[in-house]
């Protein structure tokens, strides 16, 4: 029997030094054994490298920035759907998820486009700003944290936290501050880029370990693969990593997904202390950029998610290969000005 044909629209084509997850997700989808996948790229910028990877992305459309709002996005998606007949959309950026979650019922009802996203409540409660309450609710240790709205709050932080502490943006960016001066400096830098609030988190000593996981929305963990970063860029991104054998970390992941009934992909960022305690420092409500490592280790999460989104019953993965590594690299594509001109001028290429 031949493969079923499907058109999947994917964002996050910015395969740069701080990569979006789009390209690894696409690679997972194209590895599908059941579906013949045609990828429609959705890009915010004409220089997102994925636009020009024609071996992976059949056609790319420019979409409005999340700040433009849901109606602009919906209008654009209607146009793209008219051209391409999209079956499924996989958004891959934290900042765009709110709009896509809100639009999901309309997309399904009006255009018959499927999504597989967390609910708005799930999305909101795991926000960095709400992590303390999240930890209490699901009985997971989280470092002490606080939202800060003004630079004037920085000096008084030393009464509640001990330095070093971590200064985080609401969507992206985190810096370790060792003094109040550094904390103020990072406050300014991150708030200028990502807005307020800024989240202050107690620094936790230990090793960072991450899990990429997939929940079915009913409490079942369809897949989970833990990884430790082996090479970290100056932006804190993994440039190489290795899968781990860590039953405790998997138990924490399964417990969290079971109790929250998480729907869709997520990445848990944890610190494992020298006493083998685990602290949750962040939950990203999407695939991580290293998700193709899970595919390589035997769990194709993007494919499993696609199948669930299309209404299939998907069984949980039973295992993955420990000690599987990924090593990222940079690669200069040579492109014609005409290609850049086309996406820049017409918004599609």
């Amino acid at each position: 029997m031949g493969k079923k044909k499907i058109n999947v629209a994917v964002t996050g084509l910015n395969n740069i030094d701080s990569p979006g997850p789009g390209i690894p997700v696409i690679r997972g989808l194209l590895d599908s054994k059941d579906y013949e996948v045609r990828i429609i790229g959705l890009a915010y910028d004409a220089l997102e490298p994925g636009i020009y990877m024609r071996n992976l992305v059949a056609k790319t459309y420019h979409i409005p920035l999340p700040t433009a709002g849901q109606s602009s996005l919906l209008e654009r998606l209607r146009y793209i759907h008219n051209q391409e007949k999209i079956d499924l959309i996989i958004p891959n950026f934290d900042a765009e998820l709110f709009n896509f979650i809100k639009l999901a019922p309309v997309l399904e009802k009006e255009l018959n486009i499927q999504t597989f996203l967390p609910t708005l409540d799930q999305f909101e409660e795991r926000h960095k700003a709400n992590l303390t309450e999240f930890g209490k609710k699901y009985e997971i240790k989280v470092p002490k944290s606080k939202m800060v709205f003004s630079l004037s709050e920085i000096p008084s932080l030393s009464q509640q936290f001990s330095y070093p502490l971590v200064v985080k943006g609401k969507f992206y960016d985190a810096n370790v501050a060792y003094t109040p001066d550094q904390a103020a400096q990072y406050f300014n830098k991150i708030s200028a880029k990502w807005g307020l609030p800024i989240i202050i988190q107690q620094f936790t000593y230990g090793t960072e370990v991450n899990v990429t996981a997939l929940g079915d929305g009913k409490g079942n963990t369809i897949g989970a693969v833990p990884m430790r970063k082996q090479v970290i860029t100056d932006k804190g991104k993994a440039w190489a990593g290795i899968t781990l054998e860590d039953d405790k970390l998997l138990q924490i992941t399964q417990k969290l997904i079971r109790h929250s009934k998480w729907k869709g992909p997520c990445e848990l960022e944890m610190i494992k202390t020298n006493n083998n305690e685990y602290y949750l420092i962040e939950i990203n409500p999407r695939f991580p950029a290293w998700v193709y490592l899970a595919v390589g280790a035997g769990q194709n999460h993007p494919d499993a998610m696609m199948r669930m989104a299309m209404g299939e019953e998907v069984k949980s993965f039973a295992e993955y290969e420990v000690g599987k590594m990924f090593i990222r690299y940079s690669y200069d594509m040579i492109c014609d000005l005409k290609e850049f001109e086309t996406i820049s001028t017409f918004g599609e290429y």
Binding site: T207, M227, L244, E245, D246, K248, N276, V322
Partner: protein, 86 residues
Amino acid sequence: MIIKKNIALSDTGFVFNPSTGDSFSVNPIGLEILKMLKENKPEEEIKKHLLGKYATDRDTVEKDYYDFTKMLEQVKLTDTDGKEKD
């Protein structure tokens, strides 16, 4: 001293700890000692084996064995009190 059960040893002397993702390389004698430790051979038996096989003396074996096993502890390849910590 007990080496963690899940530590992978290859014949080339490559050592992999799947719990932490750390990997190490040991020389052939280090590999020999690690293999014997994994088989739960007692310390005295390992030292006797080294004394019998290599042209060395008791003091050197004692010192080198101590240094090597301390290093194994430091890089967390051993079980504390013979039990898995995690």
